[in-house]
Symmetry: D2
Subunit: 339 residues, 4 copies
C-alpha cells in the first residue's frame, strides 16, 4: 500500500450499516480516506461527518458522483435503489462497494452488473461473513483439503430478534433478506449450488405470517459437486446471534463456534454458567466489516478483481429466489430454473 | 424392586448386540437373571453362556419359549425374523424386548403388535438413545419448558464406517437401518411427525450406490406441532461416531455434544489437540443399553407400560418409509400417505 | 488371562470403599472371584455378601486369612489397622491390595513393607487416580515427550464437602488424608519430590481449625528433576468434586478437565448453562476403582510387580509428613528430612 | 464526555508500547487528541507521528512538558526514567499515565507519588489487565458475591518467549518485570496481600540463570482476608501467551480462559485440533490497552480518581520485592517487612 495515495471514498446512505462503514473507513482502512457522506436525511449525515471529521456532506449523492476527487463509493441505501445507484456510479467512473442484495429482480441486477462491467470499475458486494476470521480459517481448512472432499455443509443462522414489520414488508422475505448471507457463504465454501429445497414455518410471530413471510426455515441445498447442505434460520434466538458453520467431508470435519460476550465461567451449586453469544451482526462481524472494506480498497488500488464480485451477488439472489419458489410450490427447485 | 424375584430372561440371537444384552442382563440388571441364550450358531451361544455363567443354551429358541421358567425374551435375531418371533413369544406368554426395527413391512408389523396386545405381554423396542444420560437430560429440559416451545430440532448422526455390503444388502437402506434411530429420537423429543423430505447422495462408497442405497442423507421433518427438524446422516465419519442433538425453541436452545475417548488437551507449538469421539454405538451408548434393559425389567415387574412401545417401533418405521418414498419421488411425503 | 483359574479374593472391611471393591470384584474383574467378605459389623458384611452372591462372610478377618482357598485380600479397614493387617496377611501368604495410606508412622509402614517383602507376596496400594482414563492418557503424553521436559505441575483437588468432624479427628489431617492422593499423583507424573512447602488456612469451617487441622491448602513441590508443582486443596467445592491436572513443559502443556454429570448445554436469555462435575470420588473415579483391581489381579496372576508398590505408598506418606512439618514450621521442608 | 474539549495528550517514548498507546489515542479514545510524540530516537517518533497524522514531534520530552497546550502525558520510556519523568510532568501540571512499574526503588517511587499528589494531577499506572473484558467480568462476579467469600486465587501467566538477555539484564528480574502484572491483578481481585512465598527455577534457558534471574516461578500469596493465592510464571510457553485466572470461594468458582487465534475445530482421523492462544500481550490485551486510556481520559475530564492509582503501582512493586526476598532467603516474607 506504500506509495499509493489513499483512496477517496464516499459513503451513500448513513443508516446503521452506512454509519459503520463510514467509521471503519475513517479509522481502520489505512489505504482509504472518508471523503464525503451523503444521505437524504441531511442532519443525520452531517452529525456523522462531524463525529468522524469528514470534510464533505450532502443530501444528494449525485453531487458526490459528480465530484472527480472521489474515487469510490460505498452504497448503503435501501435495496430498491441499489441497481440504479450502481449504474449511476459506474457511469461516473466510481469504483463501487454495494451492500447486499443488489436487487431482487434479476433483470435489474444484470443491468447493474453490465453497467459496472462496461465502465470497467471494481464492484464488490457486501457479503461480510467471508471476511470473518473464524470463517476464513474454516474456508482455508476446506481449501487445503484438511477434511477431504466435502460431503455435508451445515449453517446455523439465527437472528436475536426480528426486524420491524415495516422493514419486513419491503425486505423480500426471509430468504432474500436474511438467508442470502448463508447462500453466499454456502457457495463460497462448497461451490455452485444446483438445487434448493426450502421448508418454512411461522413460529416466532404470527404477524410475520400475516405479511406472507416466514420466520423459521430449513433449506436443503445440493451442490454441483454432489455434496448436500442445510441452512437453518430463525428470526429470534433469545440467547443472541447464532452463527455457526460446519463442513463435513471424507477426511473429517471443520466447525466454527459462536463468539461469546466473554469467556468467563461461573461454577456454583446449580451448575456452570457462561456468557451469551454476541448480540448481533455489528458485534459478531465487526472485524469482518472492516476487513471487507480493506479488501475492497486493496483490490481497487492493486487493480485486482473484487473478492466478492457482482456475479457472486447475483448468484446468492438466484438461490434465494429458488428457495422462495421451493417454499411456494412445495418441491425442490433447480437453480437453473431461475436464471 | 425389593420383594420381586428376579425376572428370568432369555436372549435369542447372540451376535454383537445380543451378546452385549446378555452380558448386561448377567451383570447390570439387578432385577433380572440371564436364564438362557439361544442362537442357530450353537458354539457361539455356548461360549457366551460359559463366559457369563448362564445355565442354559440352545440352538433352537423354541425350546426356550416352551420353558415355563423363562418369563421374558430379548430378541436380537436378524430383522426379517422379528415379527414372527414376537408373535411366537407372545403366544408363549413371554414379555418381549425386541431390537429395532420390528419389520420393514407394516402389515407384518401390525400382526406382531396385535399378537403382543392380545397376549397381554409387555413389548419394548430397542431404541436405546432415549436412555442415554445426555439425551435424557436434554429431553427433560425440553419437557420442563427450559427452552420454551420447540421450533427446530437438529440431529447429527454419522457412523464411523459403513457396514459390509452384505449387511447393507438386507438392511432396508439407510433410512430404515440407520436413520430409524434418529426418527424415533425426533418423535421422542418433539412429538408426532407429519411430513418428511429426504435428500440423499452417494459420496462415501460407489458400491453402496450400486446396491441402490445411499450413504449420505439430509432429512427434513415437519412435526404436528409446526416445528421443523433436520437429520443429517453419513455412513462414514473418519473421526468417529458423531451423535449430537439440538433443540431450539422460543425460549432458548439445548444441545448434547459428542462423548470423547478422554478429556485430555495437549497444547503445543502447532495448536491444541484432543481426543476423538468414542468409536461407535457399543462405546457411546453403553450406559443406554444397560438402562433400556433395566427399564424393561422394571416395567414388567411393576406392570407398567414399556417406555418404548410397539407403537413407537411402528411409528419410526413409518417415518423411514416416508423418507424412502420422498427420496424416490423427489418431493416431501406426508406420513399419513404411508399408514 | 486365559488359562488361569480366577483368583479367589476376600475383602476385609465393608464400609463405603470396601463395599465398592467387593462389588467390582464380583462383577468387573474377570480374572477374580469374590470369595468372601469380612467386617466386624457382621450384618453389614452379610447384607453385602447376599447382594453380591458371595458364598462366605465373617466377622473375623483371621478366619479368612486362615482359609487356604483364599489367595488375595483387599484391605479396607480403618487406617490404623492397615500395617498390622498387611503383616498378618503377608504371614498367611496372601497377596494384598491395601487402601491408602499404609500408616501415618514410617516405622510401622516399614515393618509392613518388610513383612510383605519377606513373604514374597504382591502388595499394591489403592492410589486409584493413576488408573483414571484421563490421567492415564495425560501420563502417557508426558512419558511420550509430547510436551517435552516438564517444568510445572498443577493439581487441583477439592472435595465437595468435608467429612464429619469425627472422621477428621482420626484422619491424620488434610495432607495425609486428602492431599496424599495428589502427592502420589505428583510422583507418578513427574518423579521424585525433594522439597515441599505448604501454606494452609481454615476458611471452610472453624470447627476443622478447632481440631488443629486446616481445610484449605496450597502445597508447592520441588522435584528432583528441577521442575516445580503446586497442589491446591479445599474441603468444600460447592459445585462438586474438582479434579484437574496440568503438566506444562518445554514443548507444551497437557491437561485433564473435570468430568461432568452430563454434557448438555442450555442457552437462554441469561446465558449458557451446563452441568456440575460428578459429585465425589465414587462417581468420578468409578472406572479407576475397577481398573486398579484388574491391574492387581493381573499382576498377581502374571507374577509381575504391582503397578503401585508399597514403596509408592510410603513415599506419598513421606511427602505428606514433609508438608505437615512445613505448615507447622512455616518453611520449605526437604523430603530427606523426613525419612 | 459531551461538552468537554478533547484532552490533548502527548506520548513520551515511542517504542513498542508507546507506539501502541499513541495509535490508540489517535483512533480509539474519542475524548482525547494525540497532540505530540517525543522520543530520543527522533526518526522513529517522526515516522509514527506521520503515520498517525500527529502535528507535533520532538526529540526532547521537556519541550512537550513546557507546552501549555498539552494537558496530559503518557510515559513509555525505560523504567529507570519513570520516577523522574513523573516528577517533572507533575511539576509542569500535566496529568500522567505511566507504564508499570514506577520504579524498583521504593524511596524513588514515594518521591514520584508525592510529586504527583502535591501537584494535584491525576496519576494512573499501566496495569492493563484490569481492563480486559474477561477479567472485568470475573472481577464483577467476585464483587457481586457470585462465588461467595474467596478462598483461593490462581493466576497462570506465561509468556510465549523470553525477552532478550539485554532486556533481562535491566528488567529487575522475573518478579518485578513480569509477575508484577499478576501481583497487581491479585490485589485487584482479592485485596491486600500480607505475605509472599516464592519458589523459582531456571528451566527455560541457563543464560537467564547466569544473569542471576529465574525463568520459572511459583509464588504463593496470603491475603489479608485469609485467602491464599498461587501464581505460576514461565518465560516460555511454546503454545503462546497463557493467561488464565481462577477465583474459588465459599459459593463457587469463576474462571477466565485463554483467547485463541480463532475458534475453529478440525476433527480428523487423529483427533480434534484447534488454534493456539493469541501470541502475546499486544494481541491478547489489545482491547484492555484501549480501555485503560479511555478510563484515564475520563478520570481526568471528570475529576475522578484514576482507576489504577500510584499507590496501586507502589503496592505491586512491594509484593514483587517481597517475592524476590523470599526466593533469596527460602522463606515466606511478610509484605510489611518490605515497606
Amino acid at each position: 500500500m506504500t506509495g499509493s495515495a489513499p483512496l477517496s471514498v464516499a459513503v451513500i446512505g448513513t443508516g446503521r450499516i452506512g454509519a459503520r462503514h463510514a467509521e471503519n473507513l475513517a479509522r481502520f482502512v489505512p489505504g482509504a480516506r472518508l471523503a464525503a457522506v451523503a444521505d437524504v436525511n441531511l442532519p443525520a449525515a452531517a452529525a456523522l461527518a462531524e463525529r468522524l471529521g469528514t470534510p464533505r456532506v450532502s443530501a444528494d449523492y449525485r453531487e458526490l458522483l459528480a465530484d472527480s476527487a472521489i474515487t469510490a463509493v460505498v452504497i448503503c441505501t435501501p435495496t430498491d435503489t441499489h441497481a440504479r445507484l450502481i449504474a449511476e456510479a459506474a457511469a461516473a467512473g466510481k469504483h463501487i462497494f454495494c451492500e447486499k442484495p443488489i436487487d431482487f429482480d434479476l433483470a435489474r441486477t444484470d443491468q447493474a452488473l453490465a453497467a459496472a462491467a462496461q465502465a470497467g470499475v471494481t464492484l464488490q458486494i457486501g457479503f461480510n461473513r467471508r471476511f470473518d476470521p473464524h470463517v476464513r480459517r474454516l474456508a482455508a481448512a476446506v481449501t487445503a483439503g484438511e477434511i477431504g472432499a466435502p460431503h455435508l455443509l451445515r449453517i446455523t443462522s439465527r437472528d436475536p430478534a426480528p426486524p420491524s414489520l415495516d422493514y419486513l414488508r419491503g425486505s423480500g422475505g426471509l430468504f432474500l433478506d436474511m438467508a442470502i448471507h448463508d447462500f453466499d457463504l454456502a457457495r463460497h465454501l462448497l461451490g455452485e449450488v444446483v438445487e434448493a429445497h426450502a421448508t418454512g414455518a411461522v413460529l416466532v410471530d404470527p404477524a410475520i405470517g400475516a405479511l406472507g413471510d416466514i420466520d423459521t426455515a430449513v433449506t436443503v441445498l445440493r451442490f454441483a459437486s454432489g455434496a448436500l447442505g442445510t441452512i437453518d434460520n430463525s428470526r429470534r434466538a433469545v440467547y443472541g446471534y447464532d452463527q455457526r458453520v460446519e463442513v463435513f467431508g471424507a477426511g473429517g470435519q471443520v466447525t466454527t463456534r459462536n463468539v461469546e460476550i466473554d469467556n468467563v465461567m461461573v461454577s456454583d451449586g446449580r451448575g456452570r454458567h457462561a456468557a451469551k453469544p454476541l448480540y448481533f451482526f455489528l458485534e459478531r462481524y465487526g472485524e469482518a466489516l472492516v476487513a471487507e472494506l480493506q479488501a475492497f480498497v486493496a483490490a481497487v488500488q492493486q487493480g485486482r478483481p473484487a473478492p466478492v464480485s457482482g456475479a457472486d451477488g447475483r448468484a446468492a439472489v438466484v438461490i434465494g429466489l429458488a428457495a422462495k419458489r421451493s417454499l411456494a410450490e412445495g418441491r425442490p427447485v433447480r437453480v437453473a430454473e431461475i436464471g
